[in-house]
């Protein structure tokens, strides 16, 4: 049981750090609150949906920006979508970068866009690893027979 409590403490610390470092925001808490018996894997499901969606979007963005004549409208709509999905799961930093990205799109600043693409990729990978780690931790707690602590 000591192991479980330790894991739980670790989980709480980790989650707090994620919030403090602004990887996640309240939206994620809301998601977690939505998870109940009827939807036990809701958060994981949504987040993995986000991952799939993001991979696709990032690829689209990369190809769109490699064109000789960049269709900023298209890029913008991709980024918009990305912003929507990231904000929905509460990946705050990704959302923030998306906002910058859109500004560059409006300015039609290719350099800025490319820079932002790198940044958004970076942020996305970061948040993905963080979330995956979080889920692993959650799994471990569940396997150890404990319950996942609820964040307030």
């Amino acid at each position: 049981m000591a192991a479980v409590s330790q894991l739980q403490r670790q989980f709480v610390d980790y989650t707090t750090s994620l919030y403090n470092e602004e990887y996640l925001d309240d939206q994620f808490t809301q998601l977690q609150k939505l998870q109940d018996e009827s939807n036990p894997d809701f958060v994981v499901e949504v987040v993995s949906l986000f991952f799939e969606d993001s991979e696709k979007l990032l690829n689209n963005l990369a190809t769109a920006l490699q064109q000789t004549s960049v269709d900023y409208k298209q890029v913008d709509s991709h980024v918009h979508q990305f912003k929507g999905s990231s904000s929905s799961i509460g990946a705050k930093r990704v959302t923030n970068v998306c906002v910058h990205f859109r500004n560059f799109c409006e300015e039609k600043n290719l350099d800025g866009c490319l820079r932002c693409l790198q940044q958004v990729k970076h942020e996305y990978i970061l948040v993905r690893t963080k979330l995956e780690a979080l889920f692993r931790l959650e799994q471990q707690i569940l396997q150890a027979g404990g319950s996942v602590p609820v964040m307030e």
Binding site: L49, G84, S87, S88
Partner: protein, 1190 residues
């Protein structure tokens, strides 16, 4: 010649310069920063000032770009000049150099020859002198040998003497034949000496002999022969000294003795060559000096041998003066120039070209002089120079050729030759002043250089001037261009900043407006709170007013910035112009009442009912104009006139004079032009010009300000801000909007006080709606109307119109007049009373023919009654007499007290309208009257309650105007109308939001009444949030129980999240992926989503739609439009909530414009979403109930 050449090359250099210029420019631009400071120092005054200007500009704009180009011109110009200078300088130098060098080399060659020649000649002379000396010596020796052999071994004295005589003769012959000889001496073995000597001083010739001691007695010609065999020794020679010497002057030509012999002192003696001078028995020579001549002597000595060739019997000495060499030198020098001197190898001076003495007198007699000690300064310095240059080690060949020896202040050529004679090597030195050979050349070269330099300087100056003149144009152009660029830059910046400002304002004011709306909404809640003290209520009302003012200001700013940032897009939609304007007047008249001002709307009948355009903006135009008029009008009236000018059927309207139209020639032409364009593009769209006038009796505008009042932030009189407040934006917005609608606005001259604004709008009419001909419509009803109205303008207008459509009218402006009219009309003639009884079916049954005869309507302004006292009840009682005979219509004020309303209601006066009374209201009154009569005819005895309700319902639902705020108080008292009101509200809620959005005082219209929201101009989510939230929390989690929601969202994540959220709240969610599906889902509920879990029973399958704005195939806006189109004609109105990640204000506006009811931003806030949904869905049941009742 050189200058000419120079000029030629200059031309070439010019052309090459231009070619090089660009290249140079590039280089110079690169280094121009380094050059800058230097250039600044070098620039002219004018340029300096320019620099200063430029620097100032630099400070202002930091416009390095134009500055660098500006500098580059200067740099290029400078570079060209420098290049030119360098080229010309080079050319000059080269020309000068080559001419000089060639001349010099040829001259040098010549000079060398000359010098060589010059030096060679004295040397040759020297040589010849030497040769001749040697020859003479040899000849003398040979002759002597011959003679002596003849007299070999003289036996006696006589023979000896004879020998000497012969020798003397022979010698004389030789001596005389060679005039250059200085002397010939013969010294015999025995010490006897015979000598001939020429004294150059007095040109006399002497014969010198000695008298030996042993021959003293024997006479002068005796020679001691015995001693001839004795050896030569020093003693004999020395004994000579002791001998007596004699000298005989001779005739130089003949050799005859011309004088007596004289004994001379030994030191007076000339040099006698002795045996010591021929030490090796061979001929020898050396340089000697004598006191008789001031030039050195060359003396040669040779031994005379006897026949056996064994012993020397005598020594012959010959001296030659070197004077002739010096003479030659003098001649040469005299002819040419310079100095020549000859020295021995040791440096003893032998001959010079100068006249200075060659010998020094010492105590021991004259001595040779060293060249360095010569008194001639040139020779001396030359010798010294040579000594200094070569020291004691002369070059091996002794040949020296120096061209630039500086002696004193002059340059000299120094050449020396070496004459290598055996025993007497000689060195000849020639010193020629350079001036002699090169003088002219140098002078010429110097002159040429001077000329070249001055010529090139001239050319340079001219060239520079030319370049300056030529490039001046370019630089001016550059300057202008730079200025232009900077101006453009400045303008661009200014535009950008203005644009930024507009955009900022557009965004900001929206952000400001939203909380303002919340503030106002909350204040409304607070005001409606019962438990406030009067004081608090007062304060809150004050706050409310201030907030409204602030909001109005914000709206203005939003509008103006929207227009400025070019975001304003007019929509094209059908709307009822008349209804909108009437609603507006209704609303604004409330304000008017405070001022005791009449508000009248007078739209001509020919105006098309439905026009296409942006109704909100049209209303805004008039709202601004009328509120402006209200502001400045304290008494009198404000009339909004409108008429139509259709280019097809141009009907002259009686109300307006032709002259006014003549002032505006533009629109018709414009329209015709447009027509032709439209025709060409095959558009069937009709366009009409709608004319409007806003006429007031206010303070008026000064004619000089008629144009400027439309500028932003302009007010006709600066003091108005103090008096009336306002931003001065209103009219600017109006003009912008009018212009956008293809119209114009201007202030028109008016008779009497006040302002007359005239404008026209170019609006489309979708179809030709047949104009209602009221004249025909009401003709058979035989209408009779009594107008008892306070406002004279209104009354006059209405009565004019009524009489025009064939309705008989009576005017009354006060109570007494009304009573008169009524009494006149009804009391005396029994026919009217009969008519009246017919009308009221309850009382008496009257024949149908009479009933149809006429309809009496009495329109009474509530202001007619004396409300200050209780007399009004009496007055009502009086009017009750006519109740049965005529239909009463009451015109109420917005501040009419409830007691009066209740009283009217109780007395059965159901037909009430609010001020201001205008045409449409009049028509409703008439129609209601006609209808009532027909109904009462039809139903006969049926109770009044039902149909009264219906009547009023009809009256009110038709106009759909926005005057509900005034009615609200009435409604609260008369329960029968409440439901109707509600119905109307829900019905009109779809377009209500849009209409109100553009009103100046949107919240004032709906103030104090609705917390639930659909009438609010802002998203429900904001306004209704607080109250809804409470409800939700009290209801617990399942606050959305039973609500069916269609979620249109393409992002799977959001789909999932939103679904879960909503389902948690108990809602039923159907998810679709895009707009097309959403529309389909609404149209064919069975075919659509397979995920549908509920049965679709009721016509509206969903209670609410959550619509993402950005979706593939069809986005949220399009989908909403499609849905709203589909709803048109039905009574359905599905609330649509936008779901967007756009946080921009324009998006919100866009959402609301396309017909959405509220909007939520991503990420979804659960509470906000629930409250929004609740606020939109909870209304629905009410409306459904009412619609089902109906």
């Amino acid at each position: 010649m050189a200058a000419k050449e120079n000029k030629g090359s200059y031309v070439i250099s010019r052309s090459s310069n231009t070619r090089m210029a660009s290249f140079i420019k590039r280089i110079f631009v690169k280094i121009h920063s380094a050059v800058n400071s230097w250039e600044r120092n070098h620039s002219l005054c004018r340029r300096k000032s320019l620099h200063r200007d430029v620097e100032q500009e630099e400070l202002q704009h930091a416009n390095t770009n134009c500055l660098s180009s500006y500098y580059s011109v200067f740099v290029a110009r400078l570079a060209i000049m420098v290049m030119l200078a360098i080229l010309i300088g080079l050319l000059t130098l080269l020309t000068w150099h080559f001419t000089k060098v060639y001349t010099r080399t040829s001259l040098n060659a010549l000079a060398y020859g000359l010098r060589y020649e010059l030096l060679q000649r004295p040397v040759l002379r020297m040589w010849s002198v030497l040769n001749s000396t040697v020859e003479i010596t040899t000849a003398q020796v040979k002759i002597s040998e011959y003679v002596m052999r003849k007299y070999d071994k003289p036996e006696n004295q006589a023979q000896q003497v004879e020998l000497y005589e012969v020798m003397r003769d022979v010698t004389w012959a030789l001596f005389a034949s060679h005039r250059a000889l200085n002397s010939i001496t013969i010294k015999y073995k025995n010490g006897f000496v015979q000598a001939f000597h020429r004294d150059p001083r007095d040109n006399s010739t002497y014969y010198i002999y000695n008298d030996l001691t042993n021959y003293t007695m024997a006479g002068p010609y005796e020679v001691n022969a015995s001693s001839s065999h004795q050896g030569w020794n020093d003693q004999t020679i020395r004994s000579n000294i002791s001998a007596i010497w004699y000298r005989e002057p001779l005739d130089p030509d003949t050799g005859e003795k011309i004088g007596k012999q004289k004994a001379i002192a030994p030191d007076e003696l000339i040099n006698i060559a002795g045996i010591s001078q021929v030490p090796y028995g061979a001929a020898s020579w050396h340089v000697a000096v004598s006191k008789f001549t001031n030039s050195p002597l060359l003396s040669a000595a040779m031994p005379v041998r006897d026949a056996s060739q064994e012993s020397i019997v005598a020594v012959v000495g010959v001296t030659t003066s070197l004077y002739s060499v010096g003479q030659l030198m003098k001649e040469l020098v005299g002819f040419h120039s310079g100095h020549i001197y000859l020295t021995s190898q040791e440096g003893w001076l032998l001959a010079t070209s100068s006249t200075t003495p060659l010998l020094t007198n010492t105590s021991t007699g004259p001595k040779l002089m060293m060249a360095v000690d010569s008194q001639d300064p040139v020779i001396q310095t030359g010798a010294k120079w040579l000594l200094k240059a070569y020291g004691n080690k002369p070059p091996p060949s002794h040949e020296v050729h120096i061209e630039h020896a500086k002696l004193g202040n002059q340059l000299y050529y120094i050449d020396s030759f070496f004459l290598n004679l055996k025993r007497l090597p000689m060195v000849g030195v020639l010193i020629i002043p350079r001036k002699y050979i090169m003088g002219k050349v140098d002078e010429r070269a110097f002159k040429t250089l001077m000329i070249l330099i001055s010529a090139s300087v001239c050319i340079l100056v001219i060239g520079c001037v030319c370049i300056f003149v030529l490039t001046n144009g370019v630089s001016k152009e550059m300057k202008l261009r730079a200025e232009l660029i900077s101006h453009l830059d400045a303008r661009r910046k200014a535009e950008a900043s203005s644009n930024f400002k507009s955009q900022f304002l557009a965004n900001m004011s929206h952000e400001l407006r939203t909380p303002m709306a919340a503030v106002i909404g909350l204040l409304d809640i607070l005001i409606s709170d019962e438990c406030l003290t009067d004081e608090q209520h007062e304060t809150i009302s004050q706050i409310r007013r201030c907030s409204t003012a602030l909001l109005r200001l914000l709206n203005n700013i939003l509008d103006i910035s929207k227009v400025e940032s070019g975001k304003l897009v007019l929509e094209e939609a059908d709307f009822d112009m008349g209804r909108e304007l009437e609603g507006l007047v209704d609303m604004l008249s409330v304000q008017c009442k405070n001022h005791n001002v009449e508000t009248i709307i007078d739209l001509s009948d020919d105006m098309p009912k439905v026009v296409q355009g942006d109704s909100a903006r049209v209303v805004q135009i008039f709202a601004n104009l009328i509120s402006n008029s209200i502001k400045f009008t304290t008494s009198g009236y404000i009339i909004l006139r409108g008429w139509c000018e259709d280019p097809h059927s141009f009907v002259e309207n009686g109300n307006f004079s032709l002259t006014r139209k003549a002032l505006w020639p533009g629109p018709k032409n414009k329209l015709i032009q447009q027509k032709s364009q439209e025709k060409s593009s095959c558009k069937k769209d009709n366009r009409v010009i709608l004319w409007f006038e806003v006429d007031d009796t206010g303070c008026g505008i000064d004619p000089s300000k008629w144009e400027s009042v439309f500028e932003s932030f302009e007010q006709a009189d600066p003091s108005t801000t103090r008096l009336h407040g306002g931003t001065g934006l209103g009219l600017c917005i109006v003009r912008t909007l009018v212009n956008k609608m293809g119209g114009e606005i201007r202030v028109v001259k008016k008779n009497g006080p006040g302002t007359l604004m005239q404008l026209y709008l170019l609006l489309g009419t979708s179809e030709d709606i047949p104009l209602e001909n009221y004249k025909l419509k009401y003709a058979d009803h035989n209408l009779k109307v009594v107008l008892a109205l306070n406002g004279s303008m209104c009354r006059i207008n209405l009565s004019k119109w009524l009489s025009k459509i064939g309705v008989h009218t009576w005017d009354a402006c006060e109570w007494n007049e009304l009573t008169h009219i009524l009494q006149e009309l009804f009391i005396p003639p029994s026919r009217y009373t009969q008519n009246l009884t017919y009308e009221c079916s309850k009382v008496e049954s009257i024949s149908k023919q009479e009933m149809e005869a006429s309809v009496f309507i009495i329109v009474v302004d509530i202001g007619m009654l004396n409300l200050s006292t209780d007399i009004w009840k009496e007055q009502l009682n009086f009017l009750d007499i006519f109740y049965r005979s005529a239909k009463f219509a009451w015109v109420l004020n917005h501040d009419t007290s409830n007691t009066i309303k209740i009283e009217l209601h109780n007395r059965g006066h159901m037909l009430v309208v609010n001020e201001p009374l205008y045409k449409t209201k009049m028509i409703h009154i008439i129609e209601a009257a006609i209808k009532e009569r027909s109904i009462s005819l039809r139903h006969g005895i049926l109770g009044g309650d039902t149909h009264e309700l219906l009547e009023i319902d009809n009256v009110h639902s038709d106009p759909e105007s926005s005057n509900d705020s005034e009615k609200s108080e009435l409604n609260s008292s008369s329960t029968g109308i409440v439901q109707v009101e509600l119905t109307r509200r829900t019905l009109s809620s779809s377009n209500y939001g849009i209409v109100n959005n553009c009103f100046l005082e949107p919240t004032e219209v709906s103030s104090g009444r609705n917390k639930s929201g659909p009438n609010e101009p802002f998203p429900v989510a904001v306004n209704g949030g607080s109250s809804q939230e409470k409800r939700m929390t009290s209801n617990g989690q399942k606050s959305l129980e039973g609500v069916r929601i269609l979620l249109a969202e393409d992002t799977p994540i959001l789909q999932r999240v939103a679904t879960i959220m909503l389902e948690k709240m108990g809602a039923t969610v159907v998810v679709v992926g895009d707009g097309v599906q959403a529309v389909e889902a609404l149209q064919n509920p069975m075919e659509s989503g397979t995920t549908t879990q509920t049965k679709m029973q009721d016509p509206p399958q969903y209670d609410l739609i959550l619509m993402d704005c950005q979706m593939p195939k069809m986005d949220g806006y399009e989908a909403t439009k499609a849905i709203r189109r589909a709803e048109m004609g039905t009574r359905l109105h599905i609330p649509i909530v936008a779901l967007t990640a756009h946080a921009m204000s324009s998006d919100e506006a866009k959402c609301l414009e396309v017909g959405m009811d509220a909007y939520l931003t991503k990420p979804i806030d659960c509470k906000l979403m629930v409250s929004t949904i609740l606020s939109l869905t909870k209304l629905q049941p009410n409306s459904l109930i009412i619609s089902s009742i109906k």
